[in-house]
């Protein structure tokens, strides 16, 4: 065993205790392109923790200690690789082919702390080549048409809805509430590009500390509360007037908008996240219980995007397309059970078992569609 005398023996050769290149432990280094530098001092390894990617790595080991040493990569008690006889002041290299896992490295004296060498798994499958702009041009043009027609319908139906409010026709206004909103829900990822208007049109009371009493609570849901809880069309008129202006403004802006391809692709996942996070518990339309309209709107919007991109995705991952098709089908089947006339029954009527049954396909769609962008090779 080393004794104090050994360790504290006066320096015979002054060796600068400096790491030539300090590696940030978080930077994953890989392959033989760049050697991974490690300096051994009398105290230990500098740095004391390395991260490399699985496969071949080249290590450059500089002996900045006072005695010859050997440098080892250990897996428990097994020596995986070693470089012997590195004399003070010299640097030697070691090439190692490592599998993922956590290893230790020896750092000179036995009582020096062992260093940690983490070998990360390499990404499987390699990088995905992006789909060409040409391939995306068709789906994008068609999506633009879809968004335009939905925002046209949103404007027209909102104007009809507001007209009923202004005519103090409560029953008609209540009946027109959900059909007007569904257009908004279908194109929500695009509408949300304009956060000022999104807040003015679709904000919920939850976003305010004073909830329903907050003066900032406006738009569709404020009117919903006034119509379905307070039965008060007169009080809704002022809010409705502003809503018409905001929807008109949204309409104008969307018609002048170039939808970025990545935004469209990501939109499918955004819409499903919307369903997963807020629709299943029935909190979106808590005053009117018309949640199923919004639910359908989000699903329609996601399905539209998916359908347009499906041929591109199918070429790359047939199993993915099969699974997504099946899950959309399951959701459609459950929603179909609750159709009534041109719309849906109240969300109160949706059985607990169906709310539960909805969670599986919705969450799976959320997981799957979250990969759509990457599968098409888009940032």
């Amino acid at each position: 065993m080393p004794t104090d005398a050994d360790i504290h023996r006066p320096l015979l050769v002054a060796v600068p205790v400096v790491a030539l290149l300090t590696l940030t432990p978080l930077a994953a280094l890989s392959m033989e392109a760049l050697p991974v530098n490690v300096t051994i001092t009398d105290k230990g390894c500098e740095p004391n923790s390395l991260i490399v990617t699985e496969g071949k790595s080249m290590f450059a080991i500089k002996n900045a200690s006072r005695r010859a040493l050997e440098w080892e990569i250990l897996d428990g008690v097994m020596v995986v690789e070693e470089r012997e006889n590195i004399f003070p002041g010299f640097t030697q290299t070691l090439s190692a082919n490592l599998s993922p896992g956590e290893y230790q490295m020896t750092c000179g004296l036995l009582n020096n702390p062992k260093g940690k060498l983490i070998v990360q798994a390499a990404a499987t499958g390699g990088p995905t080549a992006p789909v060409s702009a040409l391939d995306l041009a068709g789906p994008l043009a068609e999506y633009k048409l879809y968004v335009s027609s939905e925002v046209d319908a949103l404007l027209a139906d909102t104007q009809a809805f507001v007209a009923a409010i202004n005519a103090n026709d409560l029953a008609k206004a209540q009946a027109l509430y959900a059909p007007a909103r569904i257009h908004y829900e279908r194109i929500e990822p695009v509408a949300e590009l304009f956060s000022d208007l999104d807040k003015a049109i679709d904000v919920r009371a939850d976003d305010f500390e004073k909830k329903e009493d907050d003066p900032g609570f406006v738009g569709f849901h404020k009117i919903e509360k006034l119509l379905f809880v307070d039965n008060n069309t007169a009080a809704a008129q002022q809010v409705a007037e502003q809503l018409t202006k905001d929807v008109q403004e949204l309409h104008n802006r969307i018609h002048n908008l170039t939808i970025p391809a990545a935004k469209m692709v990501a939109g499918a996942a955004d819409l499903i996240e919307e369903v997963a996070a807020t629709k299943i518990a029935g909190e979106e339309d808590r005053y009117s219980h018309t949640d199923l309209w919004d639910f359908q709107g989000n699903i329609d919007g996601a399905q539209k995007i998916y359908t347009l991109l499906r041929p591109l995705a199918a070429k790359r991952n047939a199993a993915f397309v099969k699974r997504v098709d099946a899950n959309f089908k399951q959701v459609d089947a459950i929603l179909a059970k609750y159709k009534s006339g041109n719309g849906f029954v109240s969300y109160d009527k949706v059985q607990e078992s169906d709310r539960k049954a909805m969670k599986g396909p919705i969450t799976t769609l959320a997981e799957d569609l979250s990969t759509l962008r990457g599968q098409l090779g888009l940032e």
Binding site: M1, P2, D6, A28, I51, E54, K56, R67, L69, E70, E72, D75, V77, M78, V79, V80, E81, E84, N85, A96, N97, L98, S99, P100, G101, E102, T106, G108, L109, L110, N111, N112, P113, I118, Q120, A121, A122, A123, T124, G125, G126, P127, T128, N327, K356, A357, K359, G360, P361, T363, T364, A366, E367, S370, T371, R373, G374, G377, L378, E379
Partner: protein, 429 residues
């Protein structure tokens, strides 16, 4: 985890035949000089390298065995109990659920490098524990509830004999959003991050099979494992809780009180499993803290500081109530006396408790929402928890506690070998 180093690893100590003479001399010289500079005994721990933190992070519990881990396993500091709805449609889905659970739990408990994929895609791991998952004493214990046997999977006839849906006891105020569940997963580890990492992994890998129903987190002092057998943990009432608990390390005792044995009147697939009870018991701590010490001690039956039974000298004194039939020393309504009357007749009621403390926030009146996440295991639910709780009904402590959630479950037998999976005995029964 399989490691395939480029060159075959060699066992340290087993001298390779082609050892260069120069190296031998060098090592000899070094050894003779008293400087073991080359790590000759690499297997010996190097004290400076092993801080407490890395030591506990690498502690692991076995995944394979006749029983699941997390039942007789010493309790690490962090826990979560999560009840799920099972979304599987048929037996094939169910098998996929249990096989996936087995695969994920095994990986999480053993640790290893996380999978990586194209950064254009969401990463498969939350990354919460870094590039290499450490075991950190993780246990993930899977149990099924009464509703799991409701007939949708054709398993009705295989329901453990005593498994019932939890019903209200007189002092309960059950909140439906914290009760029951098709499947219960109890996750324990040294650190909360490890628990959360495991939970997120499980949720992410089974989106079409499991939906979270409710969840509650529990905690114990960080050094609970280290002080096991030396010091009893206190609950949030400030009393030592678990002094007279069954010794989980006593295999014979566990076989008698916890594990279902083969050849009983239970369905044969249950052998090696155990009934698990979870009760979320709010402690009304403000009121408790405004109760005189003597009264607190009479309610529990122990001295608050020492943990000794009233009238005894120390916490672990062996005693019974034969000499105290009137409850002069330990009142007849004291919690410990009702819970365990220490008679030969009540030996059959003994259960293995594995509780955690919980703390969630405040209620509408500004009072603290905290208490005991009670968990216990027993081979017979009826003569175990149900009998004990019936004796406790009306106990003096009720004024200060409010059970608000939980459920009864059956913890599946263990996975004995890598070719098997959780619940396989049930699915093939």
């Amino acid at each position: 985890m399989t490691r395939r180093p480029g060159r075959g690893p060699k066992q340290r100590g087993a001298a390779p035949p082609n050892l260069s003479s120069r190296r031998s001399i060098l090592k000899l010289g070094a050894a003779a000089g008293g400087v073991a500079s080359f790590g000759i005994a690499a297997a010996a721990p190097t004290p400076a390298a092993q801080t407490d933190d890395t030591e506990t992070a690498h502690q692991s519990q076995p995944f394979f065995g006749p029983h699941q881990s997390g039942i007789v396993t010493p309790q690490p500091a962090a826990a979560t109990v999560v009840a799920f709805d099972v979304l599987a449609h048929d037996r094939a889905d169910l098998e996929r659920l249990f096989r996936t659970l087995t695969e994920r739990i095994r990986f999480l408990m053993e640790g290893g490098p996380i999978a990586a994929r194209d950064p254009l895609l969401p990463p498969p791991d939350s990354g919460l524990l870094g590039p290499v998952v450490v075991p950190d004493n993780l246990t993930v214990t899977v149990a099924v509830g009464e509703s799991f046997f409701d007939g949708r999977f054709g398993l009705k006839h295989l329901k453990p004999k005593h498994l019932v849906r939890m019903t209200r006891f007189p002092n309960d105020a059950l909140d439906a959003s914290f009760c029951h569940g098709d499947l219960l997963i109890q996750i324990c580890a040294n650190r909360e991050e490890t628990v959360i990492h495991a939970l997120r992994d499980i949720i992410k890998n089974m989106p079409d099979l499991l939906a979270v129903h409710w969840k509650i987190d529990g905690f114990l002092p960080a050094d609970t494992v280290r002080r096991l057998g030396k010091e009893t943990v206190r609950n949030l009432l400030g009393f030592k809780d678990g002094t007279a608990n069954l010794a989980a390390s006593d295999t014979e005792l566990m076989n008698r009180h916890v594990w279902i044995q083969p050849g009983t009147d239970e369905p044969s697939w249950t052998a090696g499993g155990t009934y698990q009870v979870v009760r979320v018991i709010r402690n009304l701590v403000e009121r408790w803290d405004r109760t005189p010490l003597n009264e607190q001690q009479k309610i529990i039956g122990r001295s608050k500081m020492s943990g000794a039974p009233l009238g005894a000298d120390s916490e672990h004194d062996q005693f019974d109530y034969v000499g105290d039939p009137e409850g002069i020393r330990v009142p007849l309504t004291a919690h410990i006396r009702l819970a365990n009357p220490r008679t030969p007749q009540t030996d059959v009621n003994l259960i293995l408790r594995r509780p955690y403390n919980f703390s969630r926030g405040v209620n509408k009146n500004g009072q603290l929402d905290m208490g005991l996440l009670f968990v216990c295991f027993q081979s017979n639910l009826t003569s175990g928890f149900l009998a004990v709780q019936s004796r406790l009904n009306g106990e003096a402590l009720e004024e200060y506690i409010k059970p608000v959630g939980g459920g009864y479950f059956f913890a599946l037998p263990g996975v004995p070998t890598p070719d098997r999976f959780l619940g396989d005995v049930l699915l093939s029964a």
